[in-house]
C-alpha cells in the first residue's frame, strides 16, 4: 500500500518535472510572474517607470469622477495590469497630450500610453507595442434631428473633430465623395480637443461630432448615430531601442489578451471588443 502510494507520488513528480523542464518558455509566456522580474527582465529590476498620460481624454485616459487624484480609463487600466504583470513599479506622469511624445523621445518618461495611433512617421521616433485599434462614431444631438445614419449623410452638413485627428481626414474624404456625387460638401470644423468639439455640438454650432466610439458622451444631450472602424492601430509608445521594456510589455499584453483581462477593459469603458489587436511590436 505504501509502495503504491510512493510509486504514484513518484510518477506524478516525474510527469510534473517533465512538464516544467520540458516547456519552460510556454510556462513563462502563459502567466504573470511579477516576482521573477529580476531574472526575466534584468534591465527593469529596481526601476520605477514613468508612464506619460494626458488624463484629459475620456474614455482613453481620464480622472476618476469621485477621486480626481485617481487616473483611470482604457489605457491607464491596461497599463496598471501590464506593469503589475511585469512586476515593475510605475507612476503616471500627467501632461498635455502634445508634450507626451517629446518627453518620451527625450527620456523624461519611459512609456507613452495614451491613445497613440500608429503611423510610420511616428514610428521613426518611438517604438510601438500595438494592442488595439481605433473605432469611430458619428455623435449627434439627442434625437438625431438631421437623421444621420452613415458618413454619406454628412453631405451639406457641418461636422467637427479634433485638430489633426484621423476623423478630420475621414470627413475630408467623405466631403470629396459628396462633391463627386454632385452633393454639397461637408463643412469641416477642427476643435482644440474632444470636450470643446462636443461643446460645439451641444451648443448647436455643428450638426455632428466625429470621434472615438463610446456609448455616449453626455447621454442627456447626445447620442451615437453610427459607428465604423478606422482600421488604425493603437499602441504603447516606448523609447527607441528599449528592447527589454518592449519585450516585457509585449509578453504581458499577450498574457492579458489570452486570459480575458483585456476583454474586461473593453466592457468597462463601453468599447467594442472587436477593436482588439493581437500584441505586436512595431519598430518602423
Amino acid at each position: 500500500m505504501n509502495l503504491r502510494l510512493l510509486a504514484s507520488i513518484g510518477a506524478c513528480a516525474v510527469v510534473l518535472g517533465i512538464l516544467v523542464s520540458g516547456s519552460p518558455a510556454l510556462a513563462q509566456a502563459a502567466k504573470c510572474e511579477p516576482q521573477k522580474v529580476a531574472t526575466k527582465y534584468p534591465g527593469l529590476a529596481g526601476k520605477t517607470l514613468k508612464v506619460g498620460v494626458s488624463a484629459a481624454d475620456k474614455p482613453t485616459s481620464f480622472r476618476d469622477e469621485n477621486d480626481p487624484n485617481k487616473i483611470t480609463g482604457f489605457d491607464p487600466e491596461f497599463a496598471k495590469a501590464v506593469f503589475a504583470c511585469i512586476g515593475v513599479p510605475f507612476e503616471f506622469s500627467v501632461g498635455g497630450w502634445s508634450g507626451l511624445m517629446p518627453a518620451l523621445v527625450a527620456g523624461q518618461t519611459d512609456v507613452m500610453w495614451d491613445g497613440l495611433y500608429y503611423t510610420p512617421e511616428r514610428a521613426k521616433s518611438v517604438d510601438y507595442v500595438l494592442y488595439t485599434s481605433a473605432g469611430s462614431a458619428i455623435v449627434v444631438p439627442k434625437g438625431n434631428p438631421k437623421k444621420i445614419h452613415s458618413l454619406d449623410d454628412l453631405c451639406g452638413l457641418k461636422s467637427v473633430s479634433q485638430i489633426g485627428s484621423t476623423e478630420i481626414a475621414t470627413m475630408q474624404k467623405t466631403s470629396d465623395a459628396c462633391v463627386a456625387a454632385h452633393k454639397p460638401e461637408v463643412t469641416i470644423v477642427a476643435s482644440q480637443d474632444r470636450p470643446s468639439g462636443i461643446l460645439q455640438l451641444t451648443t448647436g454650432r455643428v450638426d455632428a461630432y466625429l470621434g472615438i466610439a463610446i456609448a455616449a458622451y453626455d447621454p442627456a444631450l447626445t447620442e451615437i448615430a453610427y459607428t465604423y472602424s478606422t482600421g488604425i492601430k493603437i499602441g504603447v509608445g516606448v523609447g527607441k531601442g528599449n528592447k527589454v521594456l518592449e519585450e516585457a510589455i509585449y509578453d504581458s499584453i499577450k498574457i492579458l489578451q489570452a486570459d480575458g483581462t483585456a476583454k474586461k477593459f473593453y466592457g468597462m469603458f463601453n468599447l467594442d471588443p472587436a477593436l482588439d489587436v493581437p500584441a505586436q511590436i512595431a519598430l518602423q
Binding site: N69, V94, A106, G107, Q108, D193, P195
Partner: protein, 570 residues
Amino acid sequence: MHVSIFHRPAYFAVIATLSVLSVFGIRIAYAADADLSRLEATGVWLQNVGHYATMPFLLRGAYLAIEISVLALSGGLMLGLLLAVMRLSRLKAARGFAWGYVWFVRGTPLLLQLVFLYDALPAIGIKLDSFTTAVLGFALNEAAFSAEFIRGGLLSVNRNQTVAAASLGMSPFLSLRRIILPQAMRAILPAVANSAVSMIKGTSVASVIFVNELTFRSEQIVAQNFQFFTVLTAAGLIYLAMTTVVGSAQAALERHYSLDRDASSQKPSVFARLRNLFPRRAAAPVCTEPVGPLPAVNNWLEDFGAAFPPLVNDKDTRCLVCTNVQKSYGDKEILRGLDLTVERGEVVVIIGPSGSGKSTLLRLINHLEHLDWGEIKVDGAYVGYEKIGNGLKPQRDLAKARAAARIGMVFQHFNLFDHLTALENVIETPVHVYGENPEKARARGMRLLDSVGLSNHANLLPHRLSGGQQQRVAIARALAISPRLMLFDEPTSALDPELVDEVLGTIRSLALGGMTMVVVTHEIRFAREVADRIVFIDEGEIVEQGTPEKVLGSPEHDRTRRFLRIVEHA
C-alpha cells in the same frame, strides 16, 4: 483728504464679473435641464460651480500656479534688472548681449522654450524635472520682457538724479539702488503686476511639460464630465481671487512709492503699518527730537570743519589748481588750455556768456567728466586720475575718488532726490557713502537744514517746496559731506526773481564762514558783493580776472565790456 473714484475697485470687479458669469451660467443651466424650474436650475448650477471652486484637486493646481509664478517672477525680475542695466551700459559687449537675449527670448514662443528646456537638454545630460523647468522657463522669459519695462522705468528717471548722485560720490550701484530704482518703481510697478497676472494665468502652457496647474486640471475634469462651462467658471473664480490679491499688492506698493506719501493727511501705508508693529530701538520721530543749541549762522562751519583736514600739507595754501585744461565735445572745443588757481578760503565767481565753458569747468573739477588734456588738483591731489608718464589716466573706481575728494556741488536745477524728504536728501550721502551713524547724521542734518532756515520742512518731499527752498536743501545736502570745496553751477538761474535772494543769502553766509567756493553765476550784483576774485571766461579761455572792482568796474577787454553791458541791461 485723498478721494478716489477707484475706491475699492477690486470689490466692484468681483461683483461685476460674478454677475455676468451667473447670467450666462444660468442660461446654460436652463438649456441643459429644461425639466427643472428656473430657480432650481440656477441653484443647482451655482452649487456645482461652488463645488468645483472649492475642490482640493483644483486648488492644488492653483497653488502650483502661484508657486511657479512667485519663484519665476522673483528670478525673472532680478535677471531683467541686470539685463536692463546691461542694455544701458557703456560696454558694447554687455549692450549687445542683453539686446540679443531680449531679441531671442521675446521673439520665440514660450511653449517652444519650455519644451526645449524639458525635452532637448536631456540630450546633453541635463535632465530637469517639470517644476524646475517651469520656474526656469518662465523666469528666463519674464527676464526678457521685464528687462524692457525696467529699462523704460530707469530711463523715465530724470538724468539729473544720476548726476547729483555721482557728484556726491555715490557708486553706480548705490545710485541705482537708493536713487534711481525707487523712483523708477512708479513706472515699473504696473507692468510688474501685469506680468504677475499673465504669468499666473499663463502657467497652463506648462502642461506640455507635465505641470498640472489649474487650467490643465480643469480641462481634465471637463474631459471626464463634459461640464465645460461649470468647471471653467469655477476655475475662473479661482483665477479672479488670485489676481485680486496681485492687484491689491500692486495698489499697496504704488502707495508706498507714491510721491504723496509725506502728506500728513494720508493714512500710513501697509508697509509703514507693518514696520510700526516692530518698532526699532530709539526710533523717535525726527521732528520732535531735540536738536540742541543751534550754531550761529556765521560760524556753523566749525560744526563739521574738523572733518576735512587738508590732504597734502598745510603750507600749500592752494585749494584748487587747474593747469592747461582742455575739453572738446566731438569737434567742438569747449575749453582751450585754461589755467586757474583758487586759494583756500577764496571765493571765485566765474562769469561769461552761455556756452563759454563755465559749467564744463565745474564738471571737470569734480570729475563728472574726463579731461581731454591738462590736469586739475584739489588740495594737492588728483580726483580720480593717476599720473601715467606725461598724461593722466582715469581710475576705475571714480565714485570712491569723488567721495574722498569731498567736493560739494550745487546745480542750476537743484537735482534733489525727488523720492526723499528734505532731511533724507541731506543725510543720504553721509549715511550711505561715508557710513555715518544714522542717528548722528539726522541730528547734524537737522542742524544743517536749520542753518539754511528749513528745519520746519525737514519731512517734506522736494515737490512740496518752492524753488528757493529746494535750492537751499540742495546746499545743505552738499554741505553734509563736509566739503573742502563748493561748486555752484548757476544756482539761481532757474529761480523766480523773488526767490533769488534767499539762496544768495545762504551762499553769502557760507562765504563769510570761510568756505572755499567756485560760483558760476549771472548775478553781477551778487558777484560784486561776495567774490574775492572775478574770472571772465569766453570761448573756452580766461579773458581776464581780478578783483570785482577791477573786472566789473574797469574791465580791460572789449569782450568783457560787451558781456557786462548785455547782462546789466537784461
